[in-house]
Every structure is written in structure tokens, then in C-alpha cells.
Symmetry: none
Subunit: 418 residues, 2 copies
């Protein structure tokens, strides 16, 4: 198995000033051709650390890639250290100097002298063209192993990965088809999933990973054995089909959007505790104007009463956060906006405002499908923003399920705890 190591060089990353997105990009590109990264190190831009890490990684890998430290400024020592590590001198390469000068001329800029250092390259190294900056990438092949040094700026680094390194690795290293799929689940915890799947046999060359997110868990299945990969997917899917809402890049929001976009049905929304979040999520989708008419954020009781026509009696008797208020909200918003479908939510997002009877996290979600109304109660945990997001996601999920199955079995007084 080919071992590939990545070294990202940069003080800014270790200081938490810059997020290491290069690792994510390179990791993904390599995994797509079945040559996943074995390890990655992030180090400071100094000679000792670069030498030390390069020495270790080179001894453990078939391929080593570095990013960062190729700029023209004095704090960039990478190239010198690389040359010394491979026992090479830095030599001036006229054609690279020409390219750098051209880049400045094209942009009508005078070229700073400091950039001349970028035309020095370790002897016998191949250079990789940089179409978006001044520092060329470097490539050196020795002892049947390959070393690559790339600039750290993502827009300069990415084309070198895609256009040079990936094609090179594909032709020079044994590629094994790599299979991967994400199963996305909702309304079940990681540990409950793990328990349901505890007797699944995962055979050789396939791995599974659980990725818990806010209120959801993704299961990633990946590996080199096509047969075992498909076996794993089938056995997992069979065990937990009730909790699966989608695969790979599916999100609940996107599934709802796709469904409504092609449905010719219209939607309106009334929000209290989510304060516009559901409408904002819906309208983040291009084309949502095809079905989304509009809505009301009824944050105060006055608005619930005056604009949404929730009865004063209902608010007094049951309170703003109640099944009854949610019912009236979802009934009235559909009428007010003259839509086919409607969503309404009311709840206590916190951190304050909770009581013993109505604690923070208590939320009622109403769904109205052409007059057929479903209201469900939930008790969400977490911060204010987590409760708002869980409310939005559950509201969209209810609409999706209701639309999919058109089921009328669930009645309005059903209360669930989450």
C-alpha cells in the first residue's frame, strides 16, 4: 500500500489564525484516486522543524508532499532546507525568472527584487508551473520515491495537485479503486446506531466511521474491496432503514427543496422561536421562489394575535408555546398566504424564559398539508442556536415525511421527546 505523507508548513496554522484547508483538499483528492493520505503534520516555518519532520516523513513514506514556505519573504526557509536535505545546491533558473517577470508585467507591476529568490531551485528538481502566483512547485524523484513541494496559497496549490500530482501518481503508483459512501441518519444517537449495528460483520478492506453532527449521525463506509463495501452498505441499510434520510451529499433541506421545486405546491411559514431561520434556509436555495411565497416571524404575542389571528383566548389559556397555538398558527398562516403547505413553530429557545412546566427546549411544530394539520411536541437540548437549528431541521423533516408518505396515521396530540 502506497504511503503518502503531507507536511503543511506555517506559523499561522499553529496559531489558529488560518484554518488548514489544504489538508482537506489534498486528502480528498488523493482518496478519490484510492491513494489516501497516511499521515499529515503541521509545523512551524523554521529550518530545524522542517528538516526534522521531512526526515521522519520521508523515511516512512513513498510520497511526501509539503505545502507552504515557498514565498519570497525572508521567513521562508523551506526551499533551502529541502535542498540541504536532498544534498542539492540551489541553482538559478533563467526560464523561471522569465516567467515570474512576465506575471508582473502582465499585471502592470514593477517586480520587487525579492522575487528573484523564487527562481532558485534545488539542482535536478523538476518545477511545476504556477499559473496563479510566483513560486513554482517542486518535484524530485529518487529511490523510487517522490517528493513534491507546493506553495501554501490554496489557489496556487490546488491546480498543481489536480493538473500535475494526481495525473503523475495515477501513472506511477498502483491505483486501487477506492469505494466510499455516506449513509445519513436522523433521530437516532451515535451510540444507539452503534448498538443496532453491533452484530454487523465488516469484512476486510472496508471500514466504517460514525460522524455525529448536531442531532444527526453520518455513517461513512469506505475501502478497497468492492464486494465487501457493497455487503457492508446492504447490511447497514437493512438494519437501520427507518433512520436513513439520504446518502452522500443529501441534506434534509435539499431533499425538501427538490421535492417542493418539482411539486407545483406552494409553501408559507410562521416562525416564533426560530425567528426566521426556516425561511432563511429555504430561501438559501436558488429557485425557492418557485414554491415559497413568504411568511411571518411572530416573535411577540401581539404579532401572533394581530397578524396571525391566533385567538387571545388560546394564548391566555394554553400559552404561546403550546400545541393549541402551534395549531392555530399553522392553520392561519396557510390561509393568510393562500398556500398549499405551511409550517409553523413555537417554542422556548432559551437560555432564559423556561419554567418547570415549559422548560427551555420545548417546541411545537405544526405542518399543514392542504388543510390537514399535524402538530408535534419536542423537547430539544443544547444552546439557543442548537435548539433553533434542531427545530428547523425537524420541521423540514416532518414536512418531507408527511409529503413522502402522505400518512394520516399520526394525530395532532402526539408528543415526542428528543
Amino acid at each position: 500500500m502506497t504511503k503518502i505523507g503531507l507536511i503543511t508548513i506555517g506559523n499561522e496554522i499553529l496559531l489558529g489564525k488560518t484554518i488548514n484547508t489544504n489538508l482537506g483538499f489534498i486528502g480528498e483528492q488523493l482518496s478519490l484516486i484510492g491513494l489516501p493520505l497516511s499521515q499529515s503534520a503541521t509545523i512551524r516555518d523554521n529550518e530545524q522543524d522542517i528538516w526534522h519532520t521531512l526526515n521522519k516523513m520521508w523515511s516512512e513514506s513513498d510520497v511526501v508532499i509539503t505545502t507552504g514556505g515557498l514565498g519570497p519573504t525572508i521567513d521562508d526557509l523551506t526551499k533551502k532546507t529541502i535542498a540541504r536535505f536532498f544534498h542539492k545546491d540551489l541553482v538559478f533558473r533563467e526560464e523561471i525568472w522569465q516567467k515570474i517577470q512576465n506575471l508582473f508585467t502582465l499585471r502592470n507591476l514593477t517586480i520587487p527584487k525579492i522575487n528573484r529568490t523564487q527562481a532558485f531551485v534545488p539542482q535536478d528538481f523538476i518545477t511545476i508551473d504556477n499559473d496563479y502566483g510566483t513560486a513554482p512547485g517542486l518535484h524530485y524523484n529518487i529511490e523510487n520515491k517522490d517528493f513534491f513541494a507546493l506553495p501554501g496559497v490554496p489557489s496556487e496549490m490546488k491546480p498543481m495537485i489536480v493538473n500535475y500530482i494526481i495525473p503523475f501518481l495515477k501513472t506511477h503508483y498502483p491505483i486501487r479503486p477506492f469505494y466510499q459512501k455516506t449513509i445519513r441518519t436522523f433521530r437516532i444517537s451515535e451510540s444507539a446506531l452503534a448498538e443496532k449495528l453491533s452484530d454487523i460483520e465488516i469484512e476486510d478492506n472496508v471500514e466504517i466511521a460514525f460522524l455525529p453532527q448536531l442531532g444527526k449521525v453520518d455513517i461513512r463506509i469506505y475501502g478497497f474491496s468492492q464486494q465487501n463495501f457493497h455487503k457492508a452498505i446492504t447490511s447497514i441499510t437493512n438494519k437501520i432503514s427507518d433512520y436513513i434520510y439520504g446518502y452522500n451529499d443529501d441534506t434534509i433541506l435539499r431533499l425538501v427543496h427538490n421535492k417542493l421545486f418539482s411539486s407545483k405546491l406552494t409553501l408559507s411559514i410562521a416562525e416564533s422561536c426560530t425567528g426566521g431561520l426556516i425561511q432563511s434556509q429555504i430561501t438559501s436555495n436558488p429557485g425557492s421562489s418557485n414554491y415559497f411565497i413568504g411568511g411571518i416571524v411572530s416573535y411577540s404575542n401581539e404579532v401572533k394575535k394581530n397578524l396571525l389571528n391566533v385567538k387571545e383566548d388560546t394564548l391566555e389559556k394554553y400559552g404561546a408555546v403550546s400545541e393549541e397555538t402551534a395549531f392555530e398558527m399553522v392553520k392561519n398562516v396557510r390561509q393568510l398566504f393562500n398556500s398549499d403547505l405551511a409550517i409553523a413553530v413555537t417554542g422556548i429557545a432559551g437560555p432564559s424564559g423556561g419554567t418547570k412546566e415549559k422548560p427551555v427546549g420545548l417546541v411545537y411544530i405544526g405542518i399543514n398539508i392542504k388543510g390537514e394539520i399535524l402538530v408535534k411536541g419536542f423537547h430539544f437540548s443544547g444552546t439557543r442556536i442548537q435548539i433553533q437549528n434542531k427545530t428547523a431541521e425537524n420541521a423540514l423533516y416532518l414536512l418531507l415525511k408527511k409529503q413522502q408518505f402522505n400518512s394520516t396515521q399520526e394525530n395532532t396530540d402526539f408528543t415526542e421527546k428528543h
Copy 2:
């Protein structure tokens, strides 16, 4: 100088499926107390790699922190390997099992048997409470060095860093004062800023970094020299004061919220192209119900007409995306909701729907301060979501400025391009 190493464990990071935000957070927190990270490694979740990297990092560091691999599922081997590395047995700790059970009981869930593994801890290790999940953090002090193992889920890991590790390191390691400040600017590009600041002299032991974000640029100043640090801040602030909206963690949203929270004024909002985003941002703040009454998402023209009382004539003559419509929206929404202040936006978020006269990115923002109305036109660039976010931020910025200066110099027909 104290050497601190971080190991993030997770196949997912190496496969590019998850961005390594833990490195960013931990790097920043440590740099804030003057104990910056020396190095970081990202490795796969297998016994051999964990052992190997831990062995190397432990020999090179005073403090080692690991994140990831403490979950209950079968893919988590970290704890076993750590125990073996430090020659410890895993022992069952009743009080941790109690805490885990309590967490499930609180949420009305039955506890999966698999979670019992999380109550096993290497002998002699201190545990760090996890208030947001089931896996406790681990701490082991030996040979005047410290080892910490934390869960990989950011919401569980972060409190352990802030509440346990940072205070511990502060009292047990020599801290060198490290100064840092972020100057936050708006409505100026990175290169324009760099040009304005090109003749600033930055002296020894201080560094500055430009961090462009969507429509905004942060300038970070940091270093060990207090004197030069303050000098740098003063000279930068003097040069660009017009563009500074805040410092460090200030956001435009938070500044607006703080201002309104203490103002006793009320706010209502009418949104078209932002589809609820501004209201959602406002209501993400705890306490926003003190001043935010509610609003309308008038996505279709029908809603603008029927609910917001925008004149049919105005819509026909000038169109939904026009200064005139924005004016009526912000006038009427304030009346409808009986609020002191109001915001209204209408525009074309794209990607389709633009024309030559009214291209994608054309947005009108209206601000109403007790009947005094300001409407501004903008032309934002970017994707749909970027245009929506720029619109929201500029709307809040206008309200903030209008509130701050109470200026009436700007008139309603002023059109700016951005």
C-alpha cells in the same frame, strides 16, 4: 520555551471529509496565553499510528494533547492505545458511569450498553468532565510533563480546553505575555488596506496579518513586545479609522444587538431577497425578544401587496426591486408592527432573475428610525448566499451607523456600488 504538541486523530480528516477546525481552535487558545503550539499531527485511527505518533510527540514535547477517538463506537481505539503507551490498565470508574447514565436519563433515553466502555479510564488518570457528551477527557501528569486526551467533537472538546487545560497550563507552565488584537474593518478591500498601511513601520517581535473574509477584512496584530505591539495598533488605527467597526470578537450583528438591547427601542423587519436571514441573525441573540417584535418575509409580490401594503402602482411602475418599493416596505412594516425602528430589503440574490437594468446583486436597503427613512442601493457580487449575507450585514451596518450618529445627511436617493 514550553513545547506543546497536538495530535488530531481521525481518518475523516485525512480523507478530506472533515476540516480540522480543532487545530485552529486549540492553536488560538494556546497562543492567547503565550504558549503557542510547536507542532501538530493528523493521523489515522489505528493502534500502530497512534502509538507511533504519541511516542515521537511525547519525546519531543512538554505537553501533548490529543483530540478524537474517545467515542463509544467500534472505530475508537485511542484510549486503549494511550493506556498501553503509559503502561496502565483500563479500570472501570463507577462515578463516570453514573454521569453518563444521568445524561441519558435527563434526555429520557435508554442508555445503550456500548456506552459503558466510556467509563473505563487508564489507571491514575484524572478525568475531565464532559458536560455536552458522554466521553470524559483524560489528563495524566508524569515526569513533569502533561498528557491530555479530549473528544474530537468540537462542542465537547472546547469547554475542556477553556475550563480545564488553559487554567491548568497557566498555573503550571511559565507564561510569556503574548499580545494580540484584531482590528475589524468593513467596506474596504484587502489590497486597499495594504496600500493605506504600506508605510507603517512594524518593529521587532510584532507581526501583522490580513485576514480577508466575505466583504470584510480583519487585521491581526500579535507578538511578544508590548511596546511595539501598542505602537503598531496606534499607527494602524490612525491610518484607517474610518473603516474600523470593532475589535477582537466584535461583529456588526453583536454591536447592533447590544445597542438595541439597551435602547428600549423596538424593531421590525421586512425581507425579500434575504428571505428571513436578517431576522434569523437578530433572533440568534439571547435577549433579542427585548426589542425584536417580528417581521414579514415578503418573497412574492402578492405578499408585498397584500400584507405589506406596497402599492400595486409602485410595483408595476418601478418593480419589486426598486428604491420606491424598499421605501414603502420599510415605511409600512414599521406601521404594521408598531415598532420604533424598521429594516426592509429587496433585491436580486440570483443566480437567475437578473436583467441588464437590474442585474443579480442589485439590492435596496431601507432603514426607518421613528419615521425618518433612509434607502440605499447596492450592487453586491458573489454567489446567492454571499449576496444574501452581504445584504444582511450592510442592512445591520446601516442601522448601527444611523443609530450611532443619528445623522440625517444621507438622503433617500443615494446609490452606492460595492
